[in-house]
C-alpha cells in the first residue's frame, strides 16, 4: 500500500520535475514600482549594443532624476565575454546576468538587442527589437511620455 503510493509520488515528481527545479535569474520588477524601467537585453557579441550602451548612459544621466531606471540583462553564456565588454564601456546602470536565458525566455526576446519600456505600474508599454541610432529620438520621446505619466 505504501509502496504503491511511493510509486505514484515518484511518477508525480518525474512528471513535474521541470516545474519543480526552475532556476530563474529572477527580475523582481516590484522593486522598481513607481519608476519607469528601460529593460535592455544585450550580449558581448552584439554589435548594435556597442552603440546602445553609450546612449543608455546618456539616458540615465538625463532622465535618472525623473524616475528612469535602466536594467541591462546580459545573455552571454560565458561571463568572461561579458566582462570584456563591460571593461570597455564601464556602464553605471544596473546590470543582471542571465546565462541560461531564463529571463530572455520570460520576456520573449525576439532579436538581439531587445529593450522593453515598462511604465511606473509595471506594465510593458514599448518593445524595441534591434537598435539603430536613427531611432534614438523616438525612444527618448517614449521615455519622456512614460515619465510624464503618474
Amino acid at each position: 500500500m505504501i509502496r504503491r503510493s511511493m510509486r505514484h509520488l515518484g511518477l508525480f515528481v518525474c512528471l513535474l520535475w521541470g516545474f519543480l527545479v526552475q532556476a530563474d535569474a529572477g527580475l523582481d520588477l516590484n522593486a522598481f514600482q513607481g519608476r519607469v524601467v528601460y529593460l535592455d537585453f544585450w550580449a558581448s557579441w552584439c554589435g548594435p549594443c556597442r552603440q546602445s550602451f553609450p546612449w543608455m548612459e546618456i539616458l540615465k544621466d538625463t532622465y535618472g532624476a525623473q524616475g528612469l531606471e535602466i536594467v541591462a540583462v546580459n545573455v552571454d553564456r560565458d561571463r568572461a565575454d561579458a566582462d570584456k565588454f563591460l571593461h570597455q564601456f564601464h556602464p553605471t546602470f544596473d546590470l543582471r546576468f542571465d546565462p541560461q536565458g531564463d529571463l530572455a525566455e520570460r520576456y520573449k526576446v525576439q532579436g538581439m538587442p531587445s529593450s522593453m519600456l515598462i511604465d511606473r505600474h509595471g506594465v510593458t508599454r514599448f518593445i524595441h527589437v534591434g537598435f539603430r541610432p536613427a531611432d534614438v529620438r523616438l525612444y527618448e520621446a517614449q521615455v519622456r511620455e512614460l515619465l510624464a505619466e503618474k
Binding site: 548594435p48 536565458g101 538581439m112
Partner: protein, 74 residues
C-alpha cells in the same frame, strides 16, 4: 485490449516526443550558431568551386546550403 507493458511503452513514446517542442535557436543563442564549427559547410570557397564544377558538368546547380548568417543582430 493492449497489454500493460505496451501501453506503458506507448505513453513513454508520447512523452518523449515532447522533447521536440522547442526547435530552432533562440535569438540570444545566435552567437553559438555563428561559430566556425557550427557552419553547414566546412569551406565556403571549396563549396563554391564545387558548385561551379557541378553546374558545368551537369547543367544543374543548387541543392546545397549557402554560407552566411552573421550574428543575427538587428
Amino acid at each position: 485490449m493492449m497489454s500493460r507493458s505496451s501501453l506503458a511503452l506507448a505513453m513513454l513514446a508520447v512523452a518523449a516526443v515532447t522533447g521536440c517542442t522547442s526547435l530552432g535557436v533562440k535569438p540570444w543563442q545566435r552567437d553559438v550558431l555563428a561559430r566556425q564549427e557550427m557552419q553547414l559547410d566546412s569551406d565556403p570557397l571549396d563549396a563554391a568551386i564545387d558548385d561551379h564544377m557541378y553546374f558545368s558538368k551537369e547543367a544543374s546547380s543548387g541543392g546545397r546550403s549557402f554560407a552566411g548568417g552573421g550574428c543575427g543582430c538587428n
